[in-house]
């Protein structure tokens, strides 16, 4: 999947996660900036989930800015899927 535009998904609300995705020219590989209220305890786990979703959608080059407010795994997966579909212009059934 190719990232062709800037997109975001999620929110700053408790139990949610806000993810911004883009692919600025020249960026190669995955650049992930994570900011989480539970970073010390779960930072590595969050990054693992994020990378698993990127693998699933075969995204090689991307810049992600992530603000986590204690989202559980299904929420992280959902917001990642949403932002990738939006950033690749593959979102369906929405006015986004």
């Amino acid at each position: 999947m190719k990232i062709i535009k800037k997109a975001q998904a999620g929110s700053f609300e408790s139990s949610d996660i806000l993810i911004l995705a883009e692919n600025p020219e020249g960026v190669k590989g995955r650049v992930i900036q994570l900011n989480s209220i539970v970073e010390k305890q779960y930072g590595n786990m969050i990054l693992k989930i994020v990378n698993n979703v990127l693998d699933k959608f075969e995204v090689a080059d991307i810049h992600l800015v992530i603000h986590d407010k204690g989202a559980l795994t299904p929420v992280i997966k959902a917001r990642m899927e949403t932002v990738l579909l939006r950033a690749s212009n593959n979102q369906k059934g929405t006015m986004y």
Partner: protein, 292 residues
């Protein structure tokens, strides 16, 4: 006995905190909403979130329904494609107005179910009646298909459709309430009353729920977890009611063996309808009739 649906809690489909904790609030039924509580530009986000939550979150035995968008919108078809494979207990269809609306929903659901090897009777259908046209047609709609398991009145949309004020006494939608209950009862399915929007007015909620129960509604939709206990209290038989029902049913079993159909308990006549009400009360109280 059918699953109890005393309360049906609305949970906005794009609200992770409420979705994750949905099963802990104690409602009999949860309504994960992809329709009115979700902004148009967040429909994809909510759909994907609800899909992931359905896959992974424990709802502790509560019935799980998903309210999709109408198939006339750009969102309804995608909702069904994503949600049906996850087999929620029921799909709730908004703004059902004609039998053609329901037929179309069933056809689309069956096509998706066939693609995923899901039988056609696994996922129930709940419909919402929330326009004057829907009320006019509710008797025809209610008998259309065996998958239809509950009818809900959407009070806010109905008052808007009728161009009347939404009042606390619900006088403007009184006829609609009664017609929907009759249509549901005639087809042995549940009737769920509309929400009570003033979250802080607990006595008002209690009064309205008592009215709903007396009209024949089997439960009430709620918009805040704080409303659950009040509705449950109204819909749960009191100890006195259970004791009375127990006495009637026990006497009925004795008289039945003697070939007597009509008898008296505490000086009051008991016949078949009284026994039926007693049975219903005992079932609501989870009392095994075989053990009486």
């Amino acid at each position: 006995m059918r699953q109890k649906r005393r309360t049906m809690l609305y949970i906005p489909g794009n609200n992770p905190a409420m979705l994750i904790h949905g099963g802990t609030y104690g409602a009999d039924s949860l309504l994960l909403d992809l329709e009115d509580s979700v902004a148009l530009e967040q429909k994809d986000s909510a759909r994907i979130l609800v899909k992931n939550v359905l896959k992974n979150i424990n709802f502790y035995g509560a019935e799980v329904c998903v309210r999709i968008n109408h198939l006339d919108t750009p969102f309804g078809m995608e909702d069904l494609k994503e949600i049906i494979p996850l087999k929620p207990d029921a799909i709730r269809y908004p703004k059902t107005e004609t039998i053609d609306d329901l037929k179309r929903l069933v056809t689309v659901m069956e096509e998706i179910e066939d693609q995923h090897n899901i039988s056609h009777d696994e996922i129930k259908i709940h419909i919402m009646i929330e326009t004057a046209l829907g009320v006019q047609n509710v008797f025809e709609i209610a008998k259309l298909c065996h998958r239809l398991d509950a009818i809900t009145i959407g009070g806010q949309d109905l008052t808007a459709d009728m161009n009347i004020k939404s009042t606390k006494d619900g006088s403007g939608i009184d006829l609609a309430r009664k017609m929907i209950v009759m249509a549901a009862k005639a087809n042995k399915i549940d009737a769920i009353d509309t929400v009570f929007v003033d979250i802080d007015d607990e006595e008002g909620l209690r009064r309205e729920t008592e009215k709903s129960k007396n009209l024949g509604f089997t439960g009430k939709a709620v918009i805040n977890p704080r409303q659950i206990d009040i509705v449950h209290e109204v819909y749960t038989p009191t100890e006195q009611e259970i004791r009375k029902a127990y006495k009637i049913y026990k006497e009925f079993k004795i008289k039945k063996k003697e070939g007597i159909g009509v008898f008296a308990v505490d000086g009051k006549m008991v016949d078949a309808p009284v026994v039926a009400r007693a049975k219903y009360t005992l079932q609501l109280a989870h009392i095994n009739l075989q053990e009486i």
